[in-house]
C-alpha cells in the first residue's frame, strides 16, 4: 500500500494515496474538473490544458491530470484563477473548431459542447481564418470530420495502449498537425470502434449510424453484447423504438469500458430486410401468414403426431438462457431427447466428462495475473477480442509467455513466446508432444487412454519448452478455443490439454465461443444432460439423445430450430442442407428467414432479436447478466421465451405459467445454485485416438470474424469491412505447388471443390497458413455451399 497523505480540495480535507494524480482524486470524490485529453484508461498526455486548477504556492494554474498530490497540498478547482484559466483554454481550443454542432452527430453528447457551455466564454477574441482539415477515409466503421479535432490524442493513445496497434497518428506540426493514418488506410483493429466513444468531439463518429438521429432523441438501455462469451456491457440506443446505435457500457470486471467492433456494429443485422414479421405456415409449397394461435397449434400438433425420437432440436448458443431453458424443458417434457446447441462441434467422444459448463477456469480479470498461457486452437484476438485484451495486459504487465498450438499463425498485438503451427491433424501430435513432455517433467504415469497416441509422438525441445514454461510459471493456464471445439478430434485435444494442465499445474480453461454457450450447457441444451447438469435416467449415457452430428447424419422427421440457419451455423452445410431437405417438417423459431430458410422451413415463428427481448446471458467465467428489451419489434414478433411458453401450454405441459422472463431465469438459477462448485477437472478414462493420416489439401474452417450468428451475418458495415471473409487463403508455397501463380497474379478466381459442390472464390496469399492447408472461413456465404470445416478440399485454377 502506498502512503496516505492529506490534501485539501475546494476546502475539503481528503485523505489520498501519495503519488496519485489530482484528477483521479477529484474524480473519486465527485469533484468535477473539466478535461479533454485525460482518460482514466490511457496514459497522461496533458496536452489540452482544460483541467487547469489553482494550487497553493504554484505560480500558475496546474493541470490536474498531470499533477501528483503532495502532503498538505491545497487545491481550488473553481476559484477565480482556476475558472479563468479554464475559460481561456476553452477559447484557445475553439479557435480552429468549426462550431458546426447543428450538423454534427456528436451534438448533444459532446464533451466539447458541454464544457464550452459550462466553462467557456460567449465570444472569441480570434477573428482570423480558421483552418480546415480534409477528412480521411478510415474505413466502413468510423467516419471522420477532422476539422473538429482538438488534438487531444486520445485516439492515438488508444491505438498504442489498448488496441495494441498504432494506426492513427499526428502528422505535421504546429497549426498543421493532423490526426490520421497519413496514407489512406482502413482501420484494422478489432477494437477500432472504441475511438468513437473516447473522442471528446465529433471528429470520430460511428459511420453506420451517421445522420440517423440526434443524441437527445435516442433512448439508452443497458444490455449485454450477444456475440462472444465475454458478456461485454453495452448501451443500446433506440430512436422511435428502433435500435440505431450501440456504445460501450462499463463493467470493470468484464469489459472495462471497451467493446469489440462486432458488438458495436452488429446491431444493423437486427433491422435486416429478411426479418420475419408474422408467423407463417407453408401449405403446398406456398407461404401463408397465420395468427399465432394457428401457428402454435400446428406446431403442437406436428410435435405430438411424431415419435419423439424422430424430432431433432437445434438451438443457437446466442439464444438467451430463458429461451434455451424453456426449449429444453418443453421438448423433454414431450419425450424429445435429441437436443443440442453444439452446432459446429463434430467430436462428442467423451461428452460425459465435461464439467457443468465449459468454464474459463478463472475470472476474466484473473487472466491478467497469468504468467504463462497456452492457447490451443484459438484465434482469441478475433473470437473474444476483450479476452485477448486481458492476455495482452498479462504480457505487458507480467511478461506472460504466450504460446500457441494452432493451424495458422495469428497476428497478435503483443509479443508471443512461440506459435506452433501445423495442419489441423498435425496439431494433435504437437499437443501430444507437449503432453508427453509434461508427463516426463512431473514423472507421472501416462494415462492408459492416451498411451498409444503418446507412444507415437516424440517429445521434442519445443514441446519441452512449453511444458516447462507452464510448470515454472506462478500462474499458468491452458485455454481451449473455438478451433479446438470445431476440430474433428476435439476430445483428444481436450484430453491432452487436461494432461498438460494436470502435470504442469496450469489451470485448464475454455474460451467459450458464443454469448451463451455456457448458458446453453446450464439450461440443459445438450443431449446427455438436463438443466443444471442433471443426468436423470432419461438422459443417462445409454439413453442420451442424439448430438448435432447424429441428428444431421440420420435426418429426423421433424426439426425444431431456435435461431439456427443450418447452412451457416452447422459444421457441414451440405449435410445440414440434406437433412433439412429430407425432413417432413422444419419448425423454425427465428428473427430472420432468408431464401434458404423459406425453402427449408415449413413453419416459421418470428422471434425477437436480442435487443427486443428480456433475457440473460452467462459469460465464459460463469457470470449471469440479465438485460431488458430496449427496442420494439414489429407487432407480430414475439420474444422466443414467450413463444416457447405458449407452446408449452399448447403441448399441455405443467408448470408453463411464467409471467416474465425473470420467472424462467429464477427457476433455472435455483437449480444451478444447488451445484456446489464448477470445475474443468476430469479423469482421462476413455480411449483417445490420433487423427487418421490424410493426404491432400486440408481445409481450416475457422469461423469468420463477423459470421458467428444470424445477426452479425446481416450487419452490412461489418461485412463490408471484412472482405477477406469470403476468400480462399493459402501460403505462397502452396500457390506454387497448386500452380496458381497466374490466377493470383491476375486476381482471377479459383475453383473450390468439397463434397459434391464446386464454387469459384477469390484467393489471398497469406503466409501465416501452414503448408498443405487452405483457410476458408466458416459461416460465410461461400462456405454455406461447402462441406465440413475440416477435411479434404480441392483447389484448382
Amino acid at each position: 500500500m502506498s502512503d496516505m497523505i492529506k490534501i485539501t480540495v475546494d476546502d475539503k480535507e481528503l485523505e489520498v494515496a501519495a503519488g496519485t494524480m489530482l484528477i483521479e482524486v477529484t474524480d473519486a470524490v465527485g469533484i468535477h474538473v473539466p478535461r479533454f485529453c485525460y482518460h482514466k484508461k490511457l496514459s497522461v498526455a496533458a496536452n489540452c490544458r482544460m483541467c487547469l486548477v489553482e494550487v497553493e504556492k504554484a505560480p500558475k494554474p496546474m493541470p490536474a491530470c498531470a499533477t501528483p498530490v503532495n502532503e498538505g497540498m491545497k487545491v481550488w478547482t473553481r476559484s477565480e484563477k482556476a475558472l479563468s484559466a479554464q475559460k481561456d483554454t476553452m477559447e484557445f481550443l475553439l479557435i480552429n473548431h468549426p462550431l458546426d454542432c447543428p450538423i454534427c452527430d456528436q451534438g448533444g453528447e459532446c464533451e466539447l459542447q458541454d464544457l464550452s457551455m459550462g466553462f467557456g466564454g460567449s465570444s472569441s477574441s480570434y477573428q482570423e481564418i480558421k483552418r480546415v482539415v480534409v477528412d480521411k477515409d478510415i474505413g466502413e466503421l468510423v467516419s471522420t470530420e477532422m476539422t473538429r479535432c482538438i488534438q487531444c490524442t486520445r485516439c492515438i493513445r488508444f491505438g498504442e495502449e489498448i488496441a495494441g496497434m498504432r494506426e492513427l497518428g499526428a502528422t505535421g506540426r504546429g497549426d498543421r498537425m493532423e490526426i490520421g493514418t497519413f496514407v489512406e488506410k482502413s482501420l484494422s483493429s478489432e477494437l477500432s470502434g472504441n475511438i468513437i466513444d473516447i473522442c471528446p468531439v465529433g471528429a470520430l463518429t460511428a459511420r453506420p449510424s451517421r445522420y440517423n438521429s440526434r443524441a437527445w432523441e435516442m433512448m439508452q438501455s443497458p444490455s449485454i453484447a450477444p456475440h462472444d462469451s465475454v458478456g461485454s456491457n453495452v448501451n443500446l440506443h433506440t430512436f422511435k423504438g428502433n435500435l440505431v446505435r450501440v456504445v460501450a457500457g462499463e463493467n470493470e470486471a468484464i469489459n472495462e469500458c471497451w467493446i469489440s467492433d462486432r458488438d458495436r456494429f452488429s446491431y444493423q443485422g437486427v433491422n435486416a430486410e429478411d426479418r420475419v414479421k408474422s408467423p407463417m405456415i407453408k401449405q403446398n409449397g406456398i407461404w401463408k401468414k397465420v395468427d399465432w394461435n394457428e401457428a402454435l397449434e400446428s406446431v403442437a400438433e406436428k410435435l405430438k403426431s411424431v415419435d419423439p425420437d424422430d424430432v431433432g432440436v437445434l438451438a443457437s448458443p446466442q439464444a438467451t438462457i430463458e429461451e434455451l431453458y424453456l426449449l429444453q424443458k418443453s421438448m423433454r417434457a414431450i419425450g424429445v431427447k435429441n437436443i443440442d446447441h453444439r452446432l459446429r462441434q463434430t467430436d462428442f467422444n467423451d461428452q460425459e466428462s465435461m464439467g457443468l459448463f465449459p468454464w474459463l477456469g478463472m475470472s476474466i480479470t484473473d487472466i491478467e495475473q497469468q504468467n504463462a498461457i497456452l492457447l490451443v486452437g484459438s484465434n482469441v484476438r478475433k473470437e473474444q477480442p476483450l479476452l485477448n485484451h486481458r492476455i495482452r495486459n498479462a504480457v505487458i504487465k507480467n511478461n506472460a509467455k504466450v504460446m500457441t498450438v494452432n493451424s495458422f499463425e495469428i497476428d497478435f498485438n503483443y509479443d508471443v513466446e512461440s506459435q506452433n503451427i501445423s495442419s489441423p491433424q498435425e496439431i494433435v501430435n504437437t499437443l501430444a508432444g507437449i503432453a508427453k513432455a509434461s508427463i516426463s517433467l512431473s514423472k507421472a504415469k501416462v494415462p492408459a487412454g492416451l498411451s498409444d497416441l503418446l507412444k507415437s509422438v516424440r517429445a521434442n525441445s519445443d514441446g519441452k519448452a512449453i511444458a516447462e514454461n507452464l510448470k515454472n510459471a506462478e500462474n499458468s493456464v491452458v485455454f481451449l478455443g473455438g478451433l479446438s471445439v470445431q476440430h474433428p478430434n476435439y476430445s483428444t485435444l481436450r484430453a491432452l490439454a487436461a494432461v498438460i494442465s494436470e502435470n504442469t499445474g496450469a489451470t485448464l480453461g475454455y474460451l467459450a465461443e458464443s454469448a451463451n454457450t455456457v448458458g446453453a450447457w446450464l439450461a440443459g441444451v445438450v443431449p446427455h444432460r438436463e438443466e443444471a447438469g442433471i443426468v436423470s435416467k432419461n438422459v443417462s449415457s445409454s439413453k442420451a439423445g442424439k448430438n448435432t452430428v447424429e441428428m444431421i447424419m440420420n435426418p429426423s422427421k421433424v426439426y425444431v430450430l431456435l435461431d439456427v440457419e443450418p447452412e451457416f451455423d452447422c459444421d457441414d452445410p451440405q449435410l445440414a442442407q440434406q437433412a433439412m431437405d429430407a425432413a417432413e417438417c422444419v419448425i423454425s423459431i427465428s428473427p430472420f428467414a432468408d431464401a434458404n430458410m423459406l425453402t427449408n422451413a415449413d413453419i416459421i415463428l418470428p422471434s425477437a432479436c436480442y435487443s427486443e427481448t428480456s433475457g440473460t446471458y452467462v459469460n465464459a467465467e460463469g457470470v449471469w447478466q440479465s438485460f431488458r428489451a430496449a427496442a420494439k419489434s414489429s407487432s407480430d414478433v414475439r420474444p422466443a421465451w414467450k413463444i416457447l411458453r405458449v407452446l408449452g401450454n399448447k403441448l399441455g405441459i405443467d408448470g408453463f405459467d411464467y409471467v416474465s422472463s425473470t420467472d424462467v431465469r429464477d427457476e433455472l438459477k435455483v437449480a444451478c445454485d444447488t451445484v456446489s462448485s464448477v470445475s474443468n477437472h476430469f479423469e482421462i478414462s476413455g480411449i483417445y485416438i490420433a487423427p487418421e493420416k490424410q493426404d491432400g489439401l486440408q481445409r481450416i474452417g475457422a469461423v469468420a470474424e463477423f459470421c458467428g450468428d444470424s445477426v452479425q451475418r446481416r450487419a452490412t458495415a461489418l461485412q463490408k469491412s471484412a472482405p477477406e471473409q469470403e476468400v480462399v487463403q493459402l501460403n505462397s508455397a502452396e500457390v506454387q505447388r497448386l500452380s496458381l501463380q497466374d490466377t493470383v497474379e491476375n486476381s482471377s478466381l479459383v475453383t473450390v471443390a468439397q463434397g459434391n459442390e464446386k464454387l469459384s472464390m477469390p484467393v489471398l496469399v497469406n503466409d501465416l497458413i501452414p503448408d498443405g492447408c487452405v483457410l476458408i472461413a466458416s459461416g460465410t456465404q461461400s462456405s454455406s455451399e461447402l462441406g465440413s470445416a475440416f477435411g479434404n478440399i480441392e483447389i484448382t485454377s
Binding site: M165, R166, E167, L168, G169, A170, T171, G172, R173, T181, F182, V183
Partner: protein
C-alpha cells in the same frame, strides 16, 4: 513482418546500422531521424515506400515514421521537392526587413521557378522556409544544402548558386542498390 531488403540501398542500410549501434537494442526508434536522413541523402525526398521500408527495418509502426518525417522541415515528402540542391531563403521578420523579398524574387527569376518548386533539370529545389533560421544578425540569409550564407545580395546569390552547380553536387547521387 514483410522484410523489404531491396527498397533500402546498401548504403542506406549501412548508414542506419551504424546509428543503430549507438542505441540500446530495444530503442531502435532512436535511429529514426538518422535513418530518414540517410534516405534524404540518397533520394532527396522520402517516398512512402522508403518510409515503410524504414519502419520495417526498425520494427516501428509505419505511422510513427510518417509522424517524424512530417514533423521536421529538413525532410521532404514530395517527389517534386527532390532537387539535388536545396535552397531555403529565410523570409522571417529580420530577413524580411533587410530585403529577403528581393532575394526570393531574384532566385525565382534566375531559376525560372516559384518557391516550392524544383528546376526541370532537378538541379535546384527552392524550398518554402517558414521559420527564422536563427541567423538574424546576417540578414538576409539563406541556406543552401545546410550551409548558411549571410548578408546576401543578388550578385552573391548568383555566385553561390553557380558554385554549387559547377561542382558535381555535394551529395553524390549514385544508384546503389546493393
Amino acid at each position: 513482418m514483410a522484410s523489404t531488403p531491396n527498397v533500402l540501398s546498401k548504403h542506406e542500410r549501412d548508414d542506419i546500422d551504424h546509428w543503430l549501434k549507438r542505441y540500446p537494442e530495444d530503442q531502435s526508434q532512436s535511429a529514426l531521424l538518422a535513418a530518414l536522413r540517410a534516405v534524404m541523402h540518397e533520394d532527396h525526398y522520402l517516398s512512402i515506400e522508403k518510409m515503410d521500408a524504414v519502419a520495417d527495418y526498425l520494427s516501428l509502426p509505419k505511422i510513427t515514421v510518417y509522424e517524424v518525417a512530417s514533423f521536421y522541415s529538413m525532410y521532404e515528402m514530395d517527389e517534386k521537392a527532390a532537387g539535388k540542391n536545396t535552397i531555403a531563403v529565410c523570409t522571417n521578420v529580420s530577413c524580411m526587413l533587410n530585403g529577403s523579398d528581393k532575394i526570393v524574387e531574384h532566385i525565382e527569376e534566375k531559376l525560372g521557378i516559384k518557391m516550392g518548386e524544383t528546376t526541370p533539370d532537378g538541379e535546384f529545389f527552392f524550398k518554402i522556409e517558414e521559420e527564422c533560421l536563427a541567423a538574424c544578425c546576417g540578414a538576409p540569409m539563406m541556406q543552401v544544402n545546410h550551409v548558411y550564407h549571410e548578408n546576401l545580395t543578388p550578385e552573391k546569390v548568383d555566385e553561390i548558386l553557380e558554385s554549387v552547380k559547377t561542382k558535381p553536387s555535394l551529395h553524390k547521387k549514385e544508384a546503389n542498390n546493393g
